[in-house]
Symmetry: C2
């Protein structure tokens, strides 16, 4: 017997409908690519999103066609998301930091029919235009007057959507399983794989992330998503913020600490989210210039592990609640989130910090298990590391175009490729990427644990641990260090900081100083490049 409640499909057009109906005057502030800081409202974004839908339909775009964007976080980009998704077409976000040839590959793989780009990225598109086999039209997010001279045909966004009649626009009214967004993972091996979000998964993820123990977002919040909209579904913020009517402050093209600080202050931002690198730079800027963060209450940090000094500086000096989160493109992206369990709310600071350095717990909607290489479950005892497998309401089932084949185990769990422990409170701590773990004499050594401690050295700017060949133990770890500019830490002083904090047999066999540790397109250490660079490294012992 079925329940007799209404059929109300979970589609994201309803989120913008709700925002327009309930918070029409709530503001969205953007640092525009042209320069000035501009302000619009949910009502305007609603109207313009639907004008964009009308433009797409006039161009013959139909349900499930793909529209690519290469764009910063601005209100116009939000309009592109909703205007595309609202009619049931698929919004494909492209990371501009990828190599132009990879961008072309992605647009072709996705069959993007229209490409919408910021002024910043016109040169990239010009360079690859003849390789874009499916793109019929390139739209530039600017007014007609700002359209640059170009070797290729470009249309300005403002001219394209101007004056469109939206009264008969197709909007919503499709199945909630309909594909909604496409985001490729920046795979370090092989071609990138596309994650195809559904309307349902995006709406459910928004609900999951809003709850107090997750992102804790309300209509009174002013939210600055530093995390780019082309990264991991923008951490869901383009959906969750609109669902509650939070004020949005969007950084556009300027991620420098002074630019971020200006927005944080001018608009009394209460909530922000980004990877650790952004905060490292911001905190340095604050400390050097003796600045304060009076309005900021909460910062969600993910992407890579949060270093302790970032956590402590935010909490102790600026009174900001740091929420460590873990997830990936494949999990929409929330997998775990580090709000404190009831048992630790009143614990001493050091205990709370120790907990917050871990990646947090699964909200309802994510199931997690740890398994060994054979797929057998491992205990959640806080000690035993295992492969992190997840299942849930917004977790990938298979990749776009079938790439990678069957990616779920027999119980429907997805292998995240991360290695972690989970303690008795359900708190997960990532110890490594499965491909980065160092297997020494049959045992696992966690590269991330060692890196996190090494970064605590005052003269170490960045650190990476990789395994190199060893005739007896198969692999042994070496520590690669990028010193703070102008400093020259000694090997011994770096090793000394590890002393007593890791097992003796985890101690790196060597320390190598480099000018710069290469980073991947999402700002993480590029260990593939490092392993390649050090593939012939010979241990002195």
């Amino acid at each position: 017997m079925k329940g007799l409640m209404q059929n109300w499909p979970l589609t994201v057009d309803k989120i913008l409908d709700h925002a327009n109906r309930n918070y029409p005057d709530r503001e969205i502030v953007s640092r525009s690519v042209e320069g000035p800081i501009v302000t619009t409202t949910y009502r305007e974004v609603y109207d313009r999103s639907r004008q964009l839908t009308a433009a797409l339909q006039a161009d013959g775009i139909v349900l499930s066609d793909r529209i690519g964007t290469i764009a910063w976080n601005t209100a116009r980009h939000i309009e592109c998301w909703y205007g595309t998704m609202g009619m049931g077409a698929i919004l494909h976000t492209i990371n501009p930091r990828l190599h132009p040839d990879q961008i072309a590959w992605l647009a072709n793989d996705a069959n993007d029919r229209i490409l919408i780009v910021d002024l910043t990225f016109v040169p990239i598109v010009e360079q690859i235009r003849d390789k874009l086999h499916t793109v019929e039209k390139v739209i530039v997010l600017c007014a007609d007057d700002d359209l640059p001279e170009s070797s290729i045909e470009l249309t300005s966004y403002e001219a394209w959507i101007f004056g469109r009649d939206t009264s008969n626009v197709r909007w919503g009214q499709f199945d909630e399983e309909t594909a909604c967004g496409l985001c490729y993972t920046s795979g370090t091996t092989g071609n990138p794989k596309g994650v195809l979000y559904s309307h349902r998964s995006n709406v459910l993820h928004a609900f999951m992330s809003l709850q107090p123990d997750a992102m804790n977002l309300s209509g009174a919040a002013t939210v600055l998503p530093v995390v780019p909209m082309f990264h991991a579904n923008a951490w869901g913020l383009a959906f969750s913020c609109l669902a509650v009517g939070a004020k949005l402050v969007l950084p556009g093209p300027r991620m420098e600490p002074d630019a971020i600080y200006e927005l944080l202050c001018e608009h009394d931002v209460t909530f922000t989210a980004a990877v650790p690198t952004v905060w490292m730079l911001l905190l340095n800027h604050l400390l050097e210039n003796d600045l304060d963060l009076p309005a900021l209450k909460r910062v969600v940090i993910g992407g890579t592990a949060v270093p302790e000094r970032i956590l402590r500086t935010f909490e102790e000096k600026f009174g900001v609640d740091v929420i460590h989160a873990w997830g990936m493109t494949e999990t929409s992206p929330i997998g775990t989130i580090g709000t404190l369990p009831a048992q630790l709310r009143n614990a001493p600071l050091d205990e709370r910090v120790a907990h917050k350095l871990k990646q947090g717990r699964t909200p309802f909607g994510v199931e997690m298990k740890l398994v060994d290489d054979a797929g057998a479950r491992l205990p959640h005892d806080g000690n035993t590391p295992g492969r992190v497998m997840v299942r849930g309401l917004a977790v990938v089932g298979s990749y776009f175009n079938g790439s990678g084949g069957n990616i779920l185990d027999g119980d429907g769990f997805f292998d995240t490729g991360d290695i972690a422990t989970v303690d008795s409170l359900g708190t997960m701590q990532i110890t490594d990427r499965a491909k980065d773990v160092i297997k020494s004499g049959g045992e696992w050594i966690s590269s991330i644990d060692i890196e996190n401690i090494a970064i605590g050295h005052p003269e170490v700017a960045n650190a990476a641990v990789i395994g190199v060949y060893h005739p007896k133990w198969d692999e042994r770890p070496i520590l690669i260090v990028q010193p703070v500019s102008g400093r020259s830490p000694t090997k011994d002083s770096v090793l000394a900081i590890l002393e007593g904090k890791i097992a003796k047999w985890w101690m790196p066999d060597d320390v190598v100083m480099v000018d710069e540790i290469p980073l991947g397109p999402t700002g993480k250490n590029n260990k593939l490049a490092l392993r390649d660079q050090f593939k012939d490294f010979e241990l002195s012992t």
Copy 2:
């Protein structure tokens, strides 16, 4: 094209799975019907719920069979919910305050195969046992030793579930649209109508209610649901609290202010929810005995409008955040909720109180419109009253067994039977029940507005406004007053308090003192009875 995310059906068994996996040691405290306050944990409730499932299956209960409960809020009742719903059977909550004949009618209409009742209600069941045509077994929520002597066959709950093997129990793994719970509305005319919740609607309602601008529930909360589990889906708390791992404190059979106060204090309850009557009594108890509420942070009040003196006493004297909510059995039940909009967070107290006296705004997941008698949309200007129509993810589509026929308008909206205004911030204020509104000379007079003001009179305990026949105006309002015990307010003093607060033509034509205003089974003024009582009332003018 469909999205490629995992298929993860929204079924409530997953909520208890999540609680057991993530918060196994979190406590559920119950005042037992036998007397003592007993404590259990989510792990135990999980194990016992599944033992109950095993017992149901041993008795031949299959998917979508109905199980009735007549029970207070206790951990055992929670087990009944999950043990029944977890296997895909349907949990039918019955209001014990109904007439025994009505209870029999409900159990028959629902085709309840098993009836699970608290010790308190055994006499009711004995009285109607031979009228229960579909009930095969009566379970009493107690141990074998506590089973009373009876004229009918009874089985003790503890003996029934004891030692059941749960390893092969059927649990989850059905379609999310499967019926989950059945709750009848206490219709004042005609037979009650059943609302048949689905697993999906209950899970979505939990997500909707958790968000900070709705119930704002986290794992750190200690929640005392005074609202009975047999009222309006227990306001969703049996799902939302378990989804986040809140500690539950359940009042069992004792709703008296001293009993509620004991639980609030002993367990540092931070969140509670009930109808205004409960709080009126509790606040009197606190004031008379000079007691405090140090831990309590938030109280959600719904069912009928919150009188200003309750609101102000909670906020001003006890520092408790009052959240006014509106909804009904048909809306699972959240329709609107009164958290402050961003614009009013820092407003002066009087402005905030004025807002909080209204019923609040729709969260994402509820759509609302006001219409006139012809179904045409009315403006949301804060002034124009209209019929409240709702559509959403947990709103009734049709009643059980088809009773009432098609209950949605052409756009899929359900007519709530309430009359309200909605202002530009989306805040709704109920002005009347459609059937209680007084139509005087073609215009509407709101009985609730007048009642709320009259209750502000220090000598008025309760007030009700009904329309009586008038030869010229069709209907005119009269005000029926139940004085505070031992007091005798004059008619003029009661009318004086209305002076200037309502339109002149709204002024009641008479004031009638009564010993007691009759209440319906959910504690609201029984206007049907009043209208009957005063059907021959003659206005003196």
